[in-house]
């Protein structure tokens, strides 16, 4: 392993890496400076720049110390100044090669290469390489790790086939109007909930209620004014929330380009930090189309792929909130199975519906009991409890019906399609070949109604596809149709 064989990082790393190290060390730096200033101000004045300089110098070390090379079947990275460490990654274990470029990186025209080696979530980061070298490295790693490339013929090929690049087809591109979906992503609404919580900490409601109870018109006026101010504040907060969400969406997904070649799927996006994710086609085993209730009402949807060894949960979002027609088209293109995302799903029958409704109703017992307790504690009117409980129960009934309608399954030539049992309409398509095994689970209550929960285990995505509350015969028929070789010997006709 003589030195010329090892490649070095780009010289511009010297400029880029220290900034990153400084960013990471901010807290430690601040703590050190504060600590120093408690001793004496002059020490802090001189000490702070000195420490910062030291940190910057340390930041330049990676350039001098990191070396890497790609052999026929492995990637080697050597780092460390005092303790030399060599990371070896067999090319077949490399699951993903992503490129990321922050604003500073883009000004200097370099990128960070993030290489994921699958199971352990260990990642090798090469910060930074020039754009061209990074692309070449990515293509090299991709072509060398493809199973066909193991044969002697391709191994002799020094330069990856540049012709393949010409065949990239653009599947999707961001339209800024999609930002209108962003504020309705209610998973982030927990922030607003917290806001309401903090406001109510000030004992707001009691004061208003007291003022209302007074007979004096002036007090009543004050009460209504206070309520008005509170409402106005909430509306302002909502508008601010919407703006922040939309801007955040645009900044994160700016100029999204989803393109496909014969061997890879590439997703590039970002305004300030530009990210480029590449997934091998053989690793993509399915897609998921997700429509949460609020966004579905507006006609939006999100597409993510189920792939083996990608991301922490295995599902990578390749198309953020967009119009349903567009998202459906993209999803169907990704798995090359037209109509699969629009196919009507097999319903699961009246017992499944009853079970879902009953489950939702039982779930409301605790909240309703809580409401009654609160009303009794504060000695408010009983009508409040009745109204609130009725509201909760009717909302949950609507949610239960939506959940039942979203539930279902279907089978196409190449894919198993599952409608998830949730108020959000989530449809997952999984390649039949991607199914490893089956789990058929039934609780005592399900057995009474001859329902089972069918789970297809797979290596892709979150590693399971669950079809809940299926009539037992239907479930077994599906499993037999999907994996006849496996299931034939275990099934018998009744």
């Amino acid at each position: 392993m003589s030195d010329p064989d090892w490649e070095r990082l780009d010289p511009r790393t010297v400029l880029v890496a220290p900034v990153r190290v400084l960013g990471q060390a901010t807290f430690a730096l601040a703590a050190a400076v504060i600590g120093l200033s408690q001793q004496s101000m002059t020490a802090a004045l001189y000490g702070a720049p000195a420490i910062a300089l030291l940190v910057l110098l340390v930041g330049t070390l990676p350039y001098f110390v990191t070396r890497f090379r790609v052999n026929d079947n492995e990637l080697l990275v050597r780092t460390g100044l005092i303790s030399r460490k060599t990371l070896t990654a067999p090319l077949s274990r490399i699951r993903s090669v992503d490129l990321e470029a922050s604003l500073l990186h883009r000004i200097l025209n370099v990128v960070t290469v993030k290489i994921g080696t699958g199971v352990d979530e260990d990642r090798i980061d090469l910060d930074a390489l020039s754009q061209n070298r990074a692309e070449v490295l990515r293509r090299t790693l991709h072509t060398r790790q493809a199973p066909e490339a193991e044969s002697a013929g391709l191994a002799e090929q020094s330069e990856p086939d540049a012709h393949a690049e010409d065949q990239a087809t653009l599947i999707a591109q961001l339209r800024p109007s999609w930002a209108r979906f962003a504020p309705f992503n209610f998973t982030q609404l927990v922030i607003v909930g917290g806001l309401i919580g903090t406001v109510s900490q000030f004992g707001f409601q009691e004061q208003v209620a007291e003022l209302w109870a007074q007979r004096d018109y002036l007090d009543r006026f004050a009460a209504s004014a206070l309520t008005g101010i509170a409402l106005a504040t909430l509306m302002c907060a909502a508008v601010v929330w919407a703006l922040v969400a939309m801007v955040g969406y645009l900044v994160h997904w700016w100029d999204l380009r989803l393109s496909q070649t014969d061997s890879t799927l590439n997703c590039t996006y970002g305004l300030f930090t530009r990210r480029s994710i590449t997934i091998d086609q053989p690793r993509i085993r399915g897609v998921r189309l997700k429509q949460p209730p609020a966004i579905r009402l507006l006609g939006g949807a999100e597409v993510s792929t189920l792939a083996t060894g990608v991301g922490s949960e295995g599902t990578a979002t390749v198309l953020p909130w967009s119009t349903r027609a567009y998202a459906t088209g993209v999803a169907e293109t990704l798995i090359s199975d037209p109509h699969s995302m629009r196919l009507p799903l097999q319903e699961h029958g009246k017992y499944a519906r009853r079970r879902i409704h009953l489950g939702h109703l039982v779930g409301q017992i605790v909240p309703v009991a809580g409401i009654c307790l609160v009303v009794a504690w504060f000695d408010w009117s009983w009508w409040l409890a009745v109204a609130a409980s009725a509201f909760l129960v009717s909302v949950s009934a609507v949610a239960a019906e939506m959940t039942y309608r979203n539930l279902g399954h279907a089978l196409t030539d190449r894919h198993l399609i599952a409608g998830h049992r949730s108020a959000s309409r989530v449809r997952t398509a999984l390649e039949r070949d991607g199914v490893i095994g089956w789990v058929v689970r039934s609780s005592w209550l399900q057995r009474r109604r001859n329902l089972v929960t069918l789970i297809a285990t797979t290596a892709a995505g979150d590693e399971r596809v669950t079809i809940a509350d299926v009539p037992a015969e239907m479930a077994l028929a599906v499993s037999r149709d999907t994996s006849p070789d496996l299931m034939d010997e275990f099934l018998e006709r009744t």
Partner: protein
């Protein structure tokens, strides 16, 4: 045992007790709603059922489950009694703990035998099938061609009863199959058998 590509399943080395009465078939299945639209590729009107796996687990499993449940009962009883003795703690709390202990005792007496009737397993030349559970019944099937590791495990209490678990993992985190509570020597045989079977298949197992 398997050799020559015959289609037999792994035969038990020890003579397992003949399964007594088969586990009850369960309530008569409710009729499926006939107004359902036909599935895109339904197998006509044929009804399928998962056939029962061939082998039961070791009979000592009953004693093992009972013992581990009784240990829990013992702990609960001791805690409850101690709470009764401490003057400050309310009588209701202590009573609740003792009630739980009584429930656990009932469970320890009743459940293990029923669970034993449900737990079954089978290995064919191409796949593994286990059935387990009592209130929540679960059938797990996985092909041997996708198996990644085969190992066995023996907890402290299991050592007393000379029992071992055999775990088969696939590339899916949702897919590990555990053959619980086999006789420990027999479990080693099963592991060897499985390892030989899986080694003979190629592939990335994803």
């Amino acid at each position: 045992m398997i050799g020559n590509g015959s289609n037999e399943s792994v035969t038990p080395r020890r003579k397992q007790a003949q399964p007594q009465a088969l586990p009850p078939k369960g309530p008569v299945p409710a009729s499926v709603d006939s107004s359902l639209p036909a599935s895109t590729s339904a197998v006509g009107s044929t009804d399928w059922n998962i056939r029962q796996p061939a082998h039961q687990i070791d009979p000592r499993a009953i004693a093992y489950w009972r013992t581990s449940a009784l240990i829990g009962v013992l702990v609960l009883t001791v805690v409850g009694a101690a709470m009764l003795l401490i003057p400050d703690v309310g009588i209701w709390l202590a009573g609740g703990v003792l009630f739980l202990a009584a429930l656990a005792l009932g469970a320890a007496v009743v459940i293990p035998a029923r669970r034993y009737r449900v737990h079954r397993w089978e290995i064919t030349p191409t796949a593994v099938h286990t059935r387990s559970g009592w209130i929540v019944r679960e059938d797990r099937i996985a092909p041997l061609s996708r198996v990644q590791t085969v190992d066995s495990h023996q907890g402290a209490l299991m050592r007393l009863f000379k029992l071992r678990n055999v775990t088969v993992t696939t590339a899916s985190a949702a897919g590990p199959i555990v053959i619980q509570l086999l006789d420990e020597e027999y479990a080693q045989d099963v592991v060897a058998e499985l390892t030989a079977l899986t080694r003979s298949t190629t592939g990335d197992a994803t």
